[in-house]
Symmetry: C2
Subunit: 318 residues, 2 copies
DNA sequence: TCCAGTTATAGTCAATGCGATTATAAGGGC
DNA sequence: GCCCTTATAATCGCATTGACTATAACTGGA
């Protein structure tokens, strides 16, 4: 790692292209109220901090300051995306933002100061299909169609119409929960979210329901949601969000909270049982209302054994 | 995007943490010889260049200088990973490297100057299973076992042994082509690749067959291979590597080159046919030796229609 | 000219995966 | 004791897909 790279074309010798590097964290937890994200400024922004030179790596730097600020250890951490914004400061200075997805358990959050947990679906109300299709979708469709019609040429109209139809399950298509990012980007492009106004686009209609965030933080949150919804299908990351002991229904509710859709209970139990991801503790809990449920724990040993194709979940078809 | 972010804890006011940002490109093409990567320095490094402030975004900056250097347009571009190395210059200066995967067609490469195409499997000979399991694997296994045995405590010995067994298909396990990165990391950890020596680790055995690269470029290449092998299974990115017209066998050979394993021919054709990813052109070619084959082209319209779960390929099981 | 070899293309069979449904067990509250 | 809840087990059937077989069409050599 400590070797020089040798000559490279394109490098302007002597000219510095210095930038600042920021780390942005999407810290996710799931509680009874649903999937939550750690926010600052009363839910208007994601926690972020500068990449300190003192740290060993980007990941350890992120881990350090998030744990310092929230007092909670982060379990799973995954890099989301790196982007560079020119217009942040206006000058020659430029900021590179490296966003991360982190999973944790809420527990003793302590809500210290300005930090608080906010529900995903406050920001993306159209993403929660656990109680059936949200009624707001039917009000959204005509606005998207109107946007598609407003294109200059026919090809663009057709393309917009199709993208909207695929992303938002128009024309009796199946809802695909993994398209959370595409949906937000489409709403941004159609100037139907509040963030789109900030570019100076004046001719804007009333934004669609859903809280906005400062800068592009809502877009980063959408990226995290899409990534997580995809990941839980083939890697056992859900368990980072679970307490040490849990019932199978609690596990199912967590997956449902993340994916935003309901799962068939017997099939979920069968799939969890087939893979050796959990093991019985013998203990039971009667806090669930009906018949007492077995308490399970995560079978850690399986982690290395199944590097890919881990947690298959019955989320395949609609 | 041009909003101030507001106050943030952890930010050391007035202290600059300036860094340099480098872009590293893994440019992939497939020809008759197999899967290739664009290299500089006679195959010892990946092309890389600084992120210029003048450019609109990271991606456009990468696209610009790669196309400038190679004369080839890059089709698909995807961000791989961002990392920060402290020990590069030794001083306070730090470099953030943002790596990308790009797909293109070789064609008029022109091999201008010091750039050339090199086969993937020159760097990772253990990854090519198209002619059956490479014999070198059987020489590799005992060395990995020896490394596992060399651990201090029993738990680590057991863990090393299991990770090696999973990654390298020991004990009659199935070969998983998507574990290319884990395999390289394991060999690095076991000090069985030349790169591991550079850290000052003196007690090193003879490295395993396979060309090394400068810095951590071979690790980045392994990341790209693993990502691509995973991606072709659910997104139709293979077509970025194909000429405008191609036969189904050519398409199959390309997928096989990338995944490093053979595919059952009738099943491949069935899966390609079921999804409407290609369309017949009516033309045929007799250059294939036997019965003339139909020439197909990629059905572009399908791209937006299948945002996820696109190209399902018969690569599921062993 | 016929035959062998090569590739293209279509079709069959069986095992498996998985979505949907039903049935039974075990607790609590009124 | 009845009815509610939830837990847990078992079954049915369709769709996917891995493995295999058969036929078609062309080239080149004996």
């Amino acid at each position: 790692m400590d070797q020089a790279k040798g000559p490279r074309e394109g490098r302007a010798i002597g000219k510095t292209n210095d930038v600042n590097a920021d780390l942005i964290a999407v810290v996710v937890a799931v509680n009874d109220a649903g999937p939550c994200v750690l926010t600052i400024e009363q839910g208007a922004a994601l926690p972020s901090g500068p990449f300190e030179l003192a740290h060993r790596s980007l990941q350890s730097s992120l881990r350090a300051w998030v744990e310092l600020q929230t007092g909670q250890p982060l379990g799973y951490i995954e890099q989301l995306y790196t982007f560079a914004d020119r217009d942040r400061t206006g000058g020659n200075e430029r900021v590179i933002s490296i966003s991360y997805l982190a999973l944790t358990r809420e527990e003793d959050a302590g809500a210290s100061g300005r930090r608080s947990w906010a529900s995903w679906y406050d920001y993306f109300p159209w993403e929660d299909h656990r109680s059936g299709r949200p009624p707001m979708l039917e009000e959204l469709w005509p606005r998207l169609i109107e946007w598609a019609q407003g294109a200059d040429d026919g090809a663009t109209r057709f393309d917009r119409r199709r993208r909207a139809a695929v992303a938002f399950a128009m024309d009796d298509r199946a809802w695909n929960e993994e398209l959370a990012l595409q949906r937000y980007e489409l709403l941004y492009e159609a100037a139907l979210v509040e963030e789109a106004k900030r570019g100076g686009d004046s001719a804007i209609l009333a934004p669609v329901p859903g809280r906005s965030m400062s800068a592009d933080h809502r877009r980063i949150l959408a990226t995290a949601i899409a990534r997580l919804r995809s990941k839980i299908k083939y890697r056992p990351v859900v368990f980072e969000l679970m307490p040490p002991l849990f019932t199978l229904l609690q596990l199912q509710r967590t997956v449902e909270a993340l994916s935003g859709r309901l799962i068939n209970k017997p099939n979920f139990r069968r799939l969890i049982g087939q893979q050796e991801l959990v093991e019985k503790t013998g203990a039971t809990t009667a806090e669930t209302g009906g018949r007492p449920a077995q308490l399970y724990r995560f079978h850690h040993a399986i982690l290395d054994e199944r590097p890919v194709a881990g947690t298959k979940l019955p989320l395949a078809r609609a």
